[in-house]
Amino acid sequence: MSLLLVAAAPWLLTTGYWRGILVLCAMNVLLALSLNLVMGYTGQLNLGQSAFFGIGAYVSTILIKSHGWNFWLAALAAILASGFVGLALAAFATRLKGHYLAIASLGFAVITYQVLINWESVTQGVRGIYGILPPVPNTVALFYLVAGIAAAVYLLLDNLVRSPVGDTLRAIREDEISAASLGVNAAIWKAFAFGLGAAIAGLAGVFYPGFVGTLVPDAFGIIESFTMMAMVIVGGMGTMIGPVIGAVVLTFLPELLRGFGELRLMIYGLALTLVVLFMPGGIVQAWMSVRHKTRP
């Protein structure tokens, strides 16, 4: 049912602007899903997801623009690159817990951002790369492409968390020490979660530059990491549909508030705080408890 709604979306919102927002929404869904895998299911506090988004964007764009690669090959390379870096971050993760991991991931995100800014010979730094074309010529097609990929990733992850792998990840989330006593090699599985999460974020990143047409490092800073985290938490961490809802809400909310002019971001901040305060498990949980109460 919801798939039908998604498929029909570009025909309900027919202007170029809203269709563009739909594409952005699809990308954010991918990002939220990727972060949810690491944080929601494996319980690892990751503040650096925007770095993988950025790696995906820059690696693919540089390969296409400076080396003439074909989009799909460049995309594959970018996904592999992000996944690989994710595994590297996991090497840290295995030794660190809770807040130490949080700050390591934060530090990693800052370093990646600084590299993107400073390594001008490769990334053009703050000057930016211009004239980037999307893989398909129009916005509607781009939406179907990205949304289709997001749906596929959703199904993949859904199956994953229902499988014994999901049980393992959840065991690590709940109590790493007990899990170890049951023979779970936490290090390997954490690395897996990080790597896969990073690869999916990189996948989202591959479509970003083509969508905007311009690539500058400003979309890959710390604030973006926190926005992704907000999507996961507002939607409902640790559920599959939660991040999707969170991504949709937090993509559309700032756009819908545009009529408010200067008050826009103030309202956004207030809304964010209130949602977190009053909906402990995110929108998913609030929805569930409403349904519970309205049932006879």
């Binding site: 202007t15 170029g16 602007y17 809203w18 563009g20 927002i21 952005l24 800014i117 730094g125 703050v126 000057r127 930016g128 211009y130 004239g131 905007v212 047409g213 311009t214 690539l215 500058v216 400003d218 979309a219 756009e255 545009r258 002019g261 200067e262 826009r264 971001l265």
Partner: protein, 381 residues
């Protein structure tokens, strides 16, 4: 029945001859950074445009009205792209004024070009905006080369400078201006001892000033940063005795980025600062004085307009002028712009060259900060 049919046919036939309701509105989309740190430009830009709307409404526009819609592009290519699409879809403007930040301006140029809507830029320095072959882009703001070349000329010829340290904010604009100074300075035989960049979030400059002090004899220090950081930088340089304001011998140089009133904020440290200005509130031209009077009447007697106010104001004035000369739509505006010669506005006279860049820099002049922190106009060119 036949009579009814005849009546309908006659009514339908008469329609083309009925007086058509004229849609005499020119729609202007304005993309400005209203949120985020870029709002420094957006707030001032909006002030300028709002004032211009009021002033222009008092003049004859051949029965046309100007209608403006603001969108917040937050200095970011992503938001600029989204909001330009939004404004094109919902408002269908005949012209878009925007943006202030170079990345955002570059991001929207191809979209507006494709939509055949004129882009009038009043705030970005990047050369690429007018070097990329766009037919619908016009810019009244001086680009990086136009800003930095006079600085090099004066540095070499008047100040006899051999060495320079270039300081710039780490943005597209800062980069372009810094390069715009470095290349000609080096080809004229000068030596750049260091090119020091800093992010917009740097608050303290004592370490940078100390570093410069350790580089030896520095003759000029061209600086490209916004006023907040400039104040702190000047003060640190003065403390380190690198610049004249602190008892040193280096001369700080700057471009039009600094508004009037900067010197009072920086204090002693600004003494001896040599820079070019385009909008000069001490100018006697009627256009400038009228603008200042109207600005102070609307926004407060203690506020002096800055060049950002002035450029935005001028942008809207130019649209009005195009309409007065017969423009009725985007193509008309574009045509009138290409024909503009010596159109007078607060920031000088406007003549667009073939690339859409205003090439008239006749009011740009040098000023030097005196001991009483006032400007003294220099007759250098």
């Amino acid at each position: 029945m036949k009579r009814v049919l005849t009546a309908i046919v006659l009514a339908l036939a008469a329609l083309p001859f009925a007086p058509q309701a004229q849609d005499k509105v020119i729609r202007i989309g304005v993309l400005m950074p209203i949120s985020g740190p870029g709002s420094y430009f957006g707030v001032m830009g909006k002030e300028g445009i709002d004032l211009a709307l009021e002033q222009v409404a008092k003049t004859d526009l051949k029965g046309y009205k100007l209608q403006v819609q603001y969108e917040d592009s937050a200095c970011s290519p992503l938001q600029a792209t989204n909001t330009v699409k939004r404004v094109l879809d919902q408002f269908r403007p005949h012209i878009v004024i925007g943006e202030e930040c170079s990345d955002a301006s570059l991001a929207i140029a191809p979209i507006l070009e494709q939509a055949k809507v004129v882009q009038l830029n009043a705030g970005s320095v990047t050369m690429r905006l007018t070097e990329s072959g766009y037919k619908y882009v016009f810019r009244i703001f001086p680009n990086a080369e136009q800003q930095s070349a006079p600085l090099v000329k004066v540095a070499r010829e008047r100040l006899k400078a051999q060495t320079a340290v270039i300081l710039y904010e780490k943005t597209n604009a800062g980069n372009d201006n810094a390069e715009g100074f470095e290349k000609p300075f080096v080809s004229a035989g000068g030596k750049v001892l260091a090119k020091i960049d800093f992010g917009r979030d740097v608050n303290d400059f004592t370490a940078i000033a100390t570093r410069i002090a350790s580089l030896g004899k520095v003759d000029v220090l061209p600086t490209f940063a916004l006023e907040g950081q400039q104040v702190r930088l000047s003060q640190a340089l003065a403390q380190a005795k690198v610049v004249k304001g602190g008892g040193g011998q280096g001369v700080q140089m700057g471009s039009i980025w600094l508004p009037w009133g900067y010197d009072q904020k920086a204090g002693q440290a600004a003494i001896g600062y040599v820079r070019i200005v385009q909008f000069d509130p001490t100018e006697k031209r009627k256009v400038v004085q009228d603008f200042i009077k109207a600005f102070q009447a609307k926004y407060g007697a203690d506020k002096t307009p800055t060049h950002i106010n002035a450029h935005a104001y001028d942008a809207l004035l130019l649209v009005a002028e195009a309409v007065r000369r017969g423009a009725k739509d985007s193509e008309g505006i574009r045509e009138q712009f290409t024909k503009f010669k010596d159109v007078e506005v607060t920031t000088g006279k406007i003549t667009f060259d073939k690339k859409g860049q205003n090439s008239d820099l006749s009011v740009v002049h040098f000023v030097e900060t005196q001991k009483d922190l006032s400007w003294k106009g220099l007759s250098w060119q």
